[in-house]
């Protein structure tokens, strides 16, 4: 149960942190249609996060931070708002500032490519809740990936300026890609039990999609580089970028100021 909860936190935190980041685009996007599309994406991921954090809390109440007696905060909210950054289990890809629209699109494309491959297989999970979450998520993330891929091609083939920015965005975001396919012991265990998916097993399929879209965009994939680990660990171990604690300071500020609050 502990391993299942830990696994749900990994997938849930990916969605939560990224949703929060994407939601910063609200009222800031290049056009109204993009404002709406990015909010939609954030909403879909937020929905996935809620289900996954709730599943984690149910699987192992021990992972939920302790709040004062009688606190009305439900498990998923306690996990989102009362854990410190070192207890988050998301990959580092989803943490950094949005950057410009090109960085956002490249990151969304890579994230959705990974997550779609993952959810597609997770539909067969022996955990029926996870299987159901995955089935719903596949539809959503398919749309996210298509949206980002379309924009990636548009930006790469639009103007000189947009191409320059897109190439630069690829150099900024791609080093976070390899981490998505590392096999964490929890993921290995869950895959062995038929509950989860082994990330490394998704790599070829995901790289293939990237190659197809990069080819359509006439983008050359730069040489592999990966963001180094910290004390042997990465996001799944709670070792994050400097961006995460800043994001959480803001995100958790109101909830933490009112631990007994009703919302």
């Amino acid at each position: 149960a502990g391993a299942l909860a830990a696994y749900c936190l990994m997938l849930g935190d990916d969605a939560l942190v990224y949703a929060n980041r994407l939601s910063e685009w609200a009222s800031n996007a290049p056009d109204l249609e993009e404002d709406i599309a990015l909010a939609n994406t954030a909403l879909d991921l937020l929905g996935q996060a809620r289900l996954l954090l709730a599943r984690a809390a149910l699987a192992d109440p021990g992972v939920v931070p302790q709040l004062p007696d009688g606190s009305p905060v439900p498990g998923d909210d306690a996990l989102a708002f009362f854990r410190d950054d070192a207890d988050f289990r998301n990959v580092r890809l989803v943490e950094p500032d949005n950057g410009d629209f090109a960085v956002t699109i490249v990151r969304l494309f890579l994230f959705a490519t990974y997550r779609l491959a993952l959810l597609d297989r997770l539909r067969l999970s022996s955990d029926r809740v996870l299987a159901a979450i995955a089935a719903k998520g596949v539809k959503e993330v398919t749309y996210h990936r298509d949206y980002a891929a379309r924009w990636l091609v548009t930006l790469a083939k639009g103007t000189d300026e947009s191409r320059r920015r897109t190439e630069s965005a690829v150099r900024v975001v791609l080093p976070y890609w390899a981490e998505l396919f590392d096999d964490h012991p929890i993921e290995v265990l869950m895959a062995d039990q038929g509950v989860g998916v082994l990330p490394s097993s998704l790599r070829d399929e995901a790289d293939d999609i990237v190659a197809q879209v990069f080819s359509a965009a006439e983008l050359v994939r730069p040489e592999a580089r990966r963001v180094g680990s910290v004390n042997g660990g990465t996001g799944r171990d709670g070792r994050h970028t400097e961006a995460l604690s800043l994001m959480l300071a803001e995100m958790q500020s109101v909830a933490r100021a009112h631990p007994a609050g009703q919302w």
Partner: protein
């Protein structure tokens, strides 16, 4: 066009208005009718877009996942409303880009309420309850407005606005069942927004020179003071249900009139805010300008790519 044709067209226009029927984009209409509509619809569209900022300010800080989703969806709806309304305006021959530039140049307005800051998450609830409540009072009659595309946009918008209003009320009433601190936050927020909400209906009738013509044309259906009264009458019982005090010592039921009496907003403040001296006017426009400027290369890329597609 001959004088006869002209007169016939005007006759048709007047008959449609008379019959409380809809004018459609291809119909003939007086230039001033068109100009008044463009101004009003554009102002309404701008209000939706600028209105995303004060609430958007709290998306990243919403204190529960459910509330975060509700708030994000609401701000997204506002972008959608902006879209419909700009589209309605485009049927009158003015593009979204032109309207945006008029907004940024300060030549078109948006609702003065959005020049007030959101100082706590509670303001999200108060804006839903009071500001969307006032907007609905303003907008429900506009569903019957004489210009077709505007009226139809309003029908769709009103439905969502009243959903937002209920969500706002529900947030406040949940908080009122919470801690003492939360109740104090709700009261403080209502204290700040009550008077600006009353100002949303515009100046008193005797200081509102355009109202008569707009009503004659069926663009407007009620006077500012009528709408304000309707809003007060609707809101006072809700405040009682909520358990908050509206910050107006003159507020009292008048059995004779069958309405609530209420005090007068600070119209000097209203004028200051409308002319640019509100607490957030400069920030709101600067925010929009920045987003517009930073998005320029993306819009250009999309245009360039689309043109390549056509020529390829």
């Amino acid at each position: 066009m001959t004088l006869v044709e002209d007169t016939m067209l005007e006759g048709h226009f007047n008959a449609v208005i008379e019959a409380n029927d809809r004018i459609e984009p291809r119909d003939w209409m007086p230039e001033k009718y068109r100009a008044t509509l463009v101004r009003q619809i554009a102002q309404h569209a701008h209000s939706e877009i600028i209105g995303m900022q004060p609430e958007g300010n709290w998306i990243t800080r919403a204190p529960s996942l459910r509330r975060k989703a509700i708030l994000l969806a609401k701000v997204q709806d506002e972008a959608g409303h902006g879209l419909y309304l700009y589209s309605a305006c485009e049927t009158l021959g003015v593009s979204r880009l032109e309207l945006t530039e008029l907004l940024l140049a300060g030549k078109q307005k948006y609702s003065s309420i959005f020049n007030y800051p959101t100082l706590s998450y509670t303001d999200v609830g108060t804006i839903g309850w009071l500001v969307d409540g006032a907007a609905i009072c303003n907008q429900v009659p506009l569903c019957r407005t004489s210009f077709g595309p505007y009226g139809r946009a309003m029908i769709r918008i009103c439905k969502e606005e009243s959903f937002h209003q209920r969500q706002g009320f529900e947030l406040l009433s949940t908080m009122m069942r919470g801690t003492d601190e939360q109740r104090a936050m709700v009261q403080e927020s209502v204290d700040r927004f009550w008077w600006p909400a009353l100002m949303m209906f515009g100046p008193p009738d005797d200081d509102s020179p355009n109202t008569a013509q707009s009503m004659a044309w069926g663009i407007k259906r009620d006077t500012n003071d009528e709408l304000r009264q309707k809003f007060v009458d609707m809101t006072v019982p809700q405040a009682e249900a909520l358990g908050v005090t509206l910050p107006d010592p003159h507020l009292a039921w008048n059995a004779e009139r069958g309405h609530y009496d209420f005090g007068s907003p600070d119209w000097a403040e209203f004028k200051a805010v409308v002319t640019g001296e509100g607490p957030c006017n400069a920030e709101r426009l600067a925010h929009r300008q920045r987003a517009h400027d930073e998005g320029a290369w993306v819009r250009e890329a999309a245009t360039a790519y689309a043109e390549k597609g056509v020529s390829a």
